[in-house]
Structure formats: C-alpha cells, structure tokens
C-alpha cells in the first residue's frame, strides 16, 4: 500500500516535471517574443512619432478641431495618442503571438481573430481620422460662408454641419468594426431623422421670425442694400 502511494506520487512528480520541462522552452520562447516585441514596439513608437511630427500631424488635428476635442476629455495630443496606440497594438500583437506558442487552444483562437481584426481596425481608424478632418473643414467653411453672407446664427449652422458629418462618420466606423451594426444603423437613422425634423420644426415654427427676416434680407432688402452700399473694392 505504502509502496503504491509512493509510486503514484513519484509518477505524478515525474509527470509534472516532464510537463514543466515540456512547457519551459515554450515559456522561454514566449518571453523572448514578448521582449523582442517590446523592443520592436518601441522602435515602431519612435518611428510613428517621427513621421507624425514630420507631417505636422498635431497642426492638422488642431485645424480639424480634433485637438480641442481631445483636450476636453483630458487626453494627450493627437500625435502622442497615435504613438501610444501604435506601441500597444504592436506589443499586444507580439504578446498574442508569444502566447500562441504555448499551444493553449483558446489563446490561439483569440490571437488568430485579433490578427484578422487588425485590418478592419486600421480602416476604421483611417475613416475616423479623415471623417474628423472633413467635419472640421466643412464646419469652418460653413461658418465663414455664413458670416460673410450675413446669415443669422452662423455658429449654429456650423455645429449642425459638423454634427451631421460626425454622426455619419461614426456610423460608418462602427459598421467597419462590426460593433452593433444593426443598432448603429437604426441609431444613425433615428439621429439623422431627428436632426432634420428638429431643424425643420425649428426653422418652420420656432424660427418663424428668423426665417422671415432671412428671406426678407435675401430677397427684399437686397436691392435696398445695393443702392445704399455700393463700394467697389478694387
């Protein structure tokens, strides 16, 4: 009996040692991959930062109004944010690659799906970036045009333009990421419809006087102004 227990125990220890010996090289390989991955991620981080600084990305983000949005939610600058993102993305990729070496079934599947998700994430980020740029540009263009045409409430008009574009961009981004596609589609429809209805009601009922003044200025007072203020700039 005693001998049987000792034999079973020694077999278990032997199995454990054998298993440990089997996994130890893989663990070491994983740690090496993680270490090398960290180094590569660090290089990628430096490279991305240099490129973004070279193309004056912060200025672009500032012009598009993205910097103001980031500072409002206490986030670092656009360059710093993208640099950190590149670092963590690269390192996470290496960590998952290292974990797959361990041969754990669940982890391998996760790593595979992560790498499959990367192109979609990249496209979504690209859409978001250019969407924010387009929204900022269009909002400013609307603001300037409204001010120079003496249209009432130029800021409101500019905000409406920015909001419409951002709602559209976000719906495309979520669709690309595959996050709650149906929900986002419905949400976009509701938000866009509500915005248009709101504008129609505001302009038609709430802003009746405003609309009247606008139309009067546009079609009635124009001739009067022509007579009164005909300075030729050149």
């Amino acid at each position: 009996m005693r001998e049987m227990i000792i034999s079973e125990l020694s077999q278990a220890v032997h199995e454990l040692a054998k298993g440990f010996a089997h996994y130890l090289p893989r663990l070491i390989v994983m740690l090496i991959i993680a270490g090398v991955g960290w180094l590569i991620a660090y290089v990628v981080k430096a490279l991305v930062r240099s490129i973004l600084q070279f193309i004056k990305f912060d200025r672009m983000a500032e012009n598009a109004g993205a910097s103001q949005m980031l500072s409002k939610v206490a986030l670092p600058s656009a360059t710093e944010l993208l640099t950190r993102f590149a670092f963590w993305l690269t390192w996470l990729g290496f960590l998952l690659l290292g974990a797959s070496v361990l041969g754990i079934m669940g982890l391998q599947e996760q790593a595979a799906s992560f790498f499959l998700f990367l192109p979609r994430l990249f496209v979504a980020m690209l859409i978001l970036f250019f969407g924010v740029l387009a929204a900022g540009f269009s909002a400013r263009a609307a603001l300037l045009a409204a001010v120079n045409a003496n249209v009432p409430s130029p800021k409101l008009l500019s905000l409406a333009v920015r909001s419409i574009i951002m709602v559209f961009v976000l719906s495309v981004v979520f669709e690309e990421l595959g996050v709650a596609e149906q929900t986002m589609l419905v949400a976009f429809g509701i938000a866009f419809g509500a915005l248009m209805l709101g504008l129609a009601i505001a302009f038609g009922i709430g802003g009746r006087n405003l609309a009247q003044r606008f139309l009067e200025e546009k079609f009635v007072r124009l001739n009067k102004e022509r007579d009164e203020d005909e300075l030729s700039p050149l």
Binding site: R59, E62, N63, F137, R140, A141, L143, L144, A145, A146, V147, N148, A149, N150, P154, K155, E225, R226, D227, E228, D229, E230, L231, S232, P233, L234
Partner: protein, 422 residues
C-alpha cells in the same frame, strides 16, 4: 514656344496669316456685346490716328460668349484702303477672335493674349477691360507709347477715382505692394495695362504661372513678375474711372483674386522682397492720380455690424491665424459702440501681415484664411470712411500715404513672423 500647344489650330492659322505685328491690343471678353462695339471703335480710331504706320492686331480671347461679342470684334477690322473719318489707314488692322473655353477664365484669357504676343513678336501690347466703357483714344495711346517709344516693359494705369472707390486697393493692395516689393504702383490690380513682348515671354516662361493657369488675378501676377524680374515699370494717368458695379457678396471672390494672389506671390518671391527696403517713386506720365469727392451713399452701420459679428463668430478661426495680442485687440475694438469704433492703421497692418504669414504657413486652409479677412476688411473700411468723410482730396491722399508708411514701418514685423515658423 510650348504655348503653341494650347492654342487652337484655327487661331494659330490666323496668327500665321498676320505674320508679325508691332502692336497687339488684347480684349478678354465674355458676353460683352453691349460695350465691346464702342471699345473696338475707339481702338480703331486710336490706331488710325496715332499709330498709322504700325502693324497692329486686335486679339480677342473669349470665354464662351453667346451674345455675338466675337462677331462684333472681328467685323471691325480695317482694310488698308478704306478711309475712316478722313484718316487713311496705311496698314491693315487685323482683328482675330478665339474662344479659349466655354466659360470665362481670367488666367486662360491672358495666357492666350500673351502667347499671341510672343508668336507675333510684337513690341508693345495692351490689355483692355471689356467693361471700360469710358475708354478713349488717349487711354490707349498712354498705355502703348511708354512701351513702344520709351522702352518700358510694363505700364500700369492710374485714374481719377472717388475717394471711397477701390478701398481694397487703397487700404491693402497699394500699401502692401509698395511696402513689401518697394514699388509704388497705385493700381496693383490693373484692368487696363500695357506691356512689352519681352515681359510677355518672361512671364510665360515662369513655372508658377503655369501652376496658376485658370486662376483669377493673373494681372497682379504679371505686375509682380515685372517688379521681381527687374523690368522697367511706369504709370500712365488715364482719366476718370467709373466704379464697377459690385454687390457686397462679391467681396470674398474679389479678395481671392487680389489678396489671395498677392499672399501666394509673397511665398515664391520671398528671396526678392525680403531684401527690399523703402519704395522709390515709379515714373508717372500725365497727372498724378486724383480723388473725386462727390457725395456717395454708404451703409456704414452694416459695415460695422458685419465686423462685430465676424469677430464674435470667427474667434476660433482668428485664434488659428492671428497672434493672441491681435485677437484681443480685435475683440476690444469690436466691443466699442459704433460712434466710438476705430480700427487703427497699426492694428490693421499687423492683422494683414499676420494673415499673410498664416497663409504662407498654411495654418488653416488658405481659402479659409482669405475668407476670414472679409469681416475685418469691412471694419477697416468703416474706419477709413469715418476718418475721411469730410476730408478734402489732399487730406484723404495724406491719410493713404500715412497708411503706406505704416505698412513700410512694420515690414520688419512681417519678416519676423514670416521666418518664425521655419
């Protein structure tokens, strides 16, 4: 001679038929049938009376007229035997018309005229605005003679104008061109002007010109090319200029084709203008420019309101373009009552220079920078009108001169902010 490639075969054939010419009279047109007849008659009379021995050609570059403008021009050539008002032509006056596009494009029109000048090896060319109904034979002679007989390469016009006509010219273009390029040219944005074949060839060869083909404001580019290229420039007094009817909404396009072109040129001409100081007089033929004082109805309140609204609504845009000091100064004057409002010359000059530097650095979209200048210009116009409301011609001229001196005084500031981002 690569310019030949963009000219139509038919136009080239007509130019070959002409051979060579001494004088070219360019008419860029687009649906100008109402005015073009009398302008061509004036040209015809001028050539017959003042340049009867010279080989002259009228070149019409048309932007897709549908009112018979082209036919009116080509129908007025002079055969060498027909007498006109007792004067006999010794040479044929050719009149050639070509349609460079189906819609008007200022740059293309001038390019067509310049290319024709180069191909015909002309000595003197003039370009006449099809809107200049008041044009006389003397105007045309005054633009041709300095080039043809005195060896000048560019003749800019000067006019008698109302003291409040051409306020963008008096408050920005003239003082800035004078301060930055050192050239005292009163009408930097020329509607009529004369130039030599040599200048035409030089201008056609410039790369930046090719980049800007089709854009407006080519006349200003030509003038600046003459200044930076060291060409001989003079001014000719032409007489009274009637104001061109423009709507208030035309200000932004006008700023684009004048101030936008000037700001763009500053970038490419930096090596030249950064070393210029002072502004010598440009030789002027005839009387100096005179200011007319007839009463004029102007809606000052609207100018002030649009300035105040612009400063309040565009604060975020101005923060991207202007220095914090200038923004706070603008906010301070925007808070003043209408009767106390004053946009001082120094602040105006700083504003313009900061806009020019922001344009060079592309701090925001360049067209947005130009658009953002419109409400501030209205504020400056308000102050100029109030300051000169009761002023005599001499007093107004003195005020314009003081503004020019302010632009010259602050030129080092422009250089500082221009270089600051490099």
């Amino acid at each position: 001679m690569e310019e030949e490639n963009f000219l139509t075969d038919d136009f080239l054939r007509q130019l070959i038929d002409v051979g060579e010419a001494d004088i070219l009279l360019g008419l860029p047109t687009h649906n100008n049938a109402k005015t073009i007849g009398s302008i061509v008659q004036t040209i015809r009379n001028c050539i017959l009376r003042n340049f009867p021995r010279e080989r002259a050609v009228i070149i019409n570059a048309d932007g897709g007229s549908r009112d018979g403008t082209q036919e009116l021009i080509t129908g007025l050539s002079i055969s060498d035997v027909r007498p006109v008002a007792g004067v006999y032509a010794l040479r044929t006056l050719h009149a050639i018309s070509t349609q460079y596009a189906t819609s008007p494009r200022n740059g293309e029109a001038l390019r067509t005229i310049l290319s024709a000048a180069e191909l015909l090896r002309v000595k003197a060319c003039i370009v006449i605005s099809p809107e200049s109904e008041g044009i006389t034979s003397e105007w045309i002679s005054s633009l041709i003679r300095p080039v043809y007989y005195e060896g000048f390469d560019l003749v800019a016009p000067t006019y008698s104008r109302h003291k409040f006509d051409g306020l963008l010219t008096t408050n920005l273009l003239y003082p800035m061109v004078r301060a930055v390029y050192g050239a005292r040219i009163r009408e930097a944005y020329m509607s009529e002007f004369g130039f030599s074949g040599r200048l035409a060839s030089h201008f056609l060869g410039r790369n930046q010109w090719r980049d800007a083909i089709g854009e407006s404001g080519t006349e200003l580019r030509l003038l600046l090319a003459a200044v930076t290229g060291g060409f001989r420039i003079c001014q000719s007094f032409l007489g009274k200029k009637d104001p061109v009817e423009r709507r208030a909404a035309d200000l932004v396009p006008t700023l684009r084709q004048s101030v936008g072109v000037l700001f763009s040129a500053l970038e490419s001409d930096f090596a030249v203008w950064s070393g210029i100081s002072g502004s010598p007089e440009v030789p002027t033929n005839g009387e100096g420019p005179a200011l007319l004082l007839e009463p004029l109805r102007i809606n000052r309140k609207r100018l002030w309101e649009m300035f105040v609204k612009g400063v309040s609504e565009l604060e975020s845009v101005f923060q991207s373009i202007l220095t914090p000091t200038t923004v706070s100064e603008l906010k301070r004057i925007a808070a003043l009552k209408e009767e106390e409002f004053n946009y001082p010359a120094e602040l105006w000059v700083r504003t313009v220079y900061e806009f020019a530097a922001a344009h060079q650095k592309s701090l925001i979209n360049r067209d947005h920078i130009i658009q953002a200048l419109a409400p501030l210009f209205r504020g400056r116009v308000f102050t100029f009108i109030v300051e000169n409301r009761t002023g005599s011609a001499n007093e107004v001229a003195d005020n314009i001169e003081n503004l020019c001196l302010e632009f010259e005084r602050l030129k080092p500031y422009l250089l500082d902010i221009w270089k600051s981002g490099e």
